[in-house]
């Protein structure tokens, strides 16, 4: 059996007296999709922020393929293989869809400091970006500035930005929140594709039970920052439903 690709040990962050993530120890393996649930304010996004580096941990460690990255800056973690799609869409609004994705591929290939070739002459980058844009079905909007896109299309691009990174760890934070019923399948289909890759480690914050049932290999529950349940989705959900009141309706039956 492979060792974990990502692991947190006693990972903790405090804001004043408030413990937002409370000594979370958890290991994630390649080829495994772990769904993360918990009521609003449970600390799911904050847990992601500690892993991808937007927040410094108060205590504990983050290990990527056994290497301690707890103190590494955000950009270094990304280059080491941690990919993140944000709950609050975070894009380059005035730039086109294609340019947003191209910038990601350019970052991955470490070509950002080239100051003399023309962007328009870097055909391989543009072609690679077009392929990713096609995967999220945004080709017809490729030349539009992101600011002009609908919420659903911006969510697709948010996911495309992570896919373009080709990371080892994929972190989806409520990827389909606020999307219409006919848009969500594009994203869910992509997550299913990524899950089929035995090298990919996937973390997915998601509230919808049917999505978790169909995609997740494992389910963990965060509550008040602490990891309170961990196991196969069916088992955890059964007990979670029993504790529905306690969890404050973290799961939505659809």
């Amino acid at each position: 059996m492979n060792g974990p690709s990502l692991e947190t040990r006693g990972l903790t962050v405090r804001f004043g007296g408030h413990v937002a993530v409370d000594a979370v120890s958890c290991a994630f393996r390649p080829g495994e999709l772990t769904a993360i649930v918990g009521p609003n304010g449970a600390g799911k996004t904050t847990y992601f922020n500690l892993i991808s580096g937007q927040l410094p941990a108060t205590a504990g460690q983050v290990l990527l393929e056994g290497r301690d990255i707890t103190r590494a800056p955000v950009a270094a973690r990304t280059r080491a293989g941690i990919g993140r799609a944000f709950q609050l869409t975070s894009l380059f609004p005035a730039l086109s869809v294609l340019e947003n994705v191209r910038l990601v591929i350019q970052a991955r290939q470490g070509r950002g400091l080239r100051a003399f070739p023309r962007v328009s002459a870097q055909r391989d980058l543009i072609a690679a970006a077009e392929a990713v844009v096609e995967r999220v079905k945004l080709t017809r909007l490729a030349k539009s500035p992101v600011a002009a896109l609908s919420h659903g299309d911006q969510r697709k691009l948010e996911v495309a930005m992570m896919i373009a990174l080709e990371p080892k760890i994929y972190m989806f934070d409520e990827p389909t929140a606020g999307m219409s019923l006919d848009e969500a399948p594009v994203i869910l289909g992509l997550i299913a594709e990524i899950r089929a890759d035995p090298a990919a480690t996937v973390l997915l914050v998601e509230h919808k039970m049917d999505v978790i049932r169909s995609l997740a290999d494992r389910l963990i529950v965060l509550h008040n920052g602490a990891l309170v349940a961990d196991g196969p989705p069916a088992g955890v959900m059964a007990s979670a439903i029993v504790r529905e009141a306690y969890l404050g309706g973290a799961l939505e039956d659809v």
């Binding site: 991808s52 950009a75 894009l91 970052a107 023309r118």
Partner: protein, 352 residues
């Protein structure tokens, strides 16, 4: 070919293309088209401001960095040349060495400011540049033994660039090819080259990262760019280009003083030119600088005539009094910013 020279960044507006072509042709042929030294002075000033404003646009419009030290870097190049020429004599070597020293000083200062302050917050960077630029201005006026203090430095330049020098015995198209004409082409050629280099840089992978950082530094970092490195590189590059413009302009003026290079007024002029022309467009610098310098030089004369023409009427001659030219300039700027929030270039490209 043209696409490569313009780095695939075409004007994307027929009127803009025409305006740019006219400005280019007039500046390129200025010694032959425009009679008189005043006109040539103006043309050289426009060339220099185009580069200075474009390099500021690289910072503000592309990288989203607010700096108040841009004239300081310009001054470093200018004073580098002036101090070397005034103290070592009027050869090409002192001028070259002075320019190199000024550019190196600008690059190092920019790097130090960037690394010291860009990690923190954009506003902190702006404040630091203001503080450093003010300190430098005080330093220059204090060290009068070297810098000439408030009086500045007059210096001599190589004979080949002086009005007395004749390259050819016969005039060309009715114009004598004096050292002054050669000096003008030195300014024009350097400025054109620097502008095209900047146009290439903003359309390069590096330039695209700057725009990404301007749009969303948080995400730029999250996809793997070390934002500090890119901001520092942009700051240094803009400083180096400003210093080069300063060095060339000092050679042209044969004089450097605090008022012409280091002053806050020039900093504000640059800001206005960027905004009027259109931020983040490069071509905006061309239009902004041209219009501004022309207005600065000719608005007063124009008003004088207007005042004379309306002499019989009530109130009008008073409002058109040449002494009020600053008021009118201010009014023109307020109106242009109000009606063209994306600048002239943004307006011409139809997205204002």
């Amino acid at each position: 070919m043209l696409r490569a020279i313009l780095s695939d960044d075409l004007p994307r507006s027929r009127l803009l293309a025409v305006l740019l072509a006219v400005i280019l042709v007039v500046l390129a042929a200025a010694p032959f088209l425009l009679p008189g030294t005043r006109a040539l002075e103006t043309a050289a000033r426009i060339c220099m401001f185009i580069v200075l404003v474009a390099s500021y646009d690289l910072l503000l419009g592309y990288a989203g960095i607010v700096s108040f030290a841009h004239t300081m870097f310009f001054g470093m190049g200018a004073y580098g040349v002036a101090i070397a020429a005034a103290h070592l004599g009027p050869g090409w070597l002192p001028i070259g060495a002075g320019a190199a020293a000024g550019v190196a000083l600008a690059a190092l200062t920019a790097l130090a400011i960037a690394l010291f302050s860009l990690r923190v917050r954009a506003i902190f960077f702006a404040m630091i540049t203001l503080a450093v630029a003010s300190a430098m201005a005080v330093l220059v006026s204090q060290l009068s033994g070297i810098t000439g203090g408030e009086d500045g430095l007059n210096f001599r330049i190589p004979r080949e660039l002086t009005p007395g020098f004749r390259l050819l015995e016969e005039p060309v198209f009715g114009t004598r090819i004096t050292g002054r004409v050669i000096a003008y082409y030195l300014v024009f050629g350097t400025c054109l080259a620097l502008f095209l280099v900047m146009l290439r840089v903003v359309n390069s992978p590096f330039g695209s990262v700057l725009q990404a950082i301007r749009e969303n530094a948080f995400r730029a970092e999250a996809i793997g760019y070390r934002v500090v490195v890119y901001r520092a590189a942009a700051t240094c590059l803009a400083a180096v280009i400003a210093a080069l413009a300063g060095a060339v302009f000092a050679v042209w003026l044969r004089y450097v003083g605090p008022g012409t290079t280091l002053g806050m007024e020039i900093m504000i002029d640059i800001l206005l030119m960027v905004v009027i022309g259109g931020m983040g467009t490069m071509y905006g610098a061309v239009l902004g600088a041209t219009i501004f310098v022309l207005a600065q030089n000719y608005l007063q004369a124009l008003m004088e005539r207007a005042a004379a023409a309306t002499a019989g009427l009530p109130l009008l001659p008073d409002i058109l009094n040449p002494d009020r030219w600053l008021l009118w300039l201010g009014l023109v700027f307020i109106l242009s910013v109000y009606f063209f929030p994306a600048g002239i270039v943004g307006r011409l490209r139809g997205r204002a």
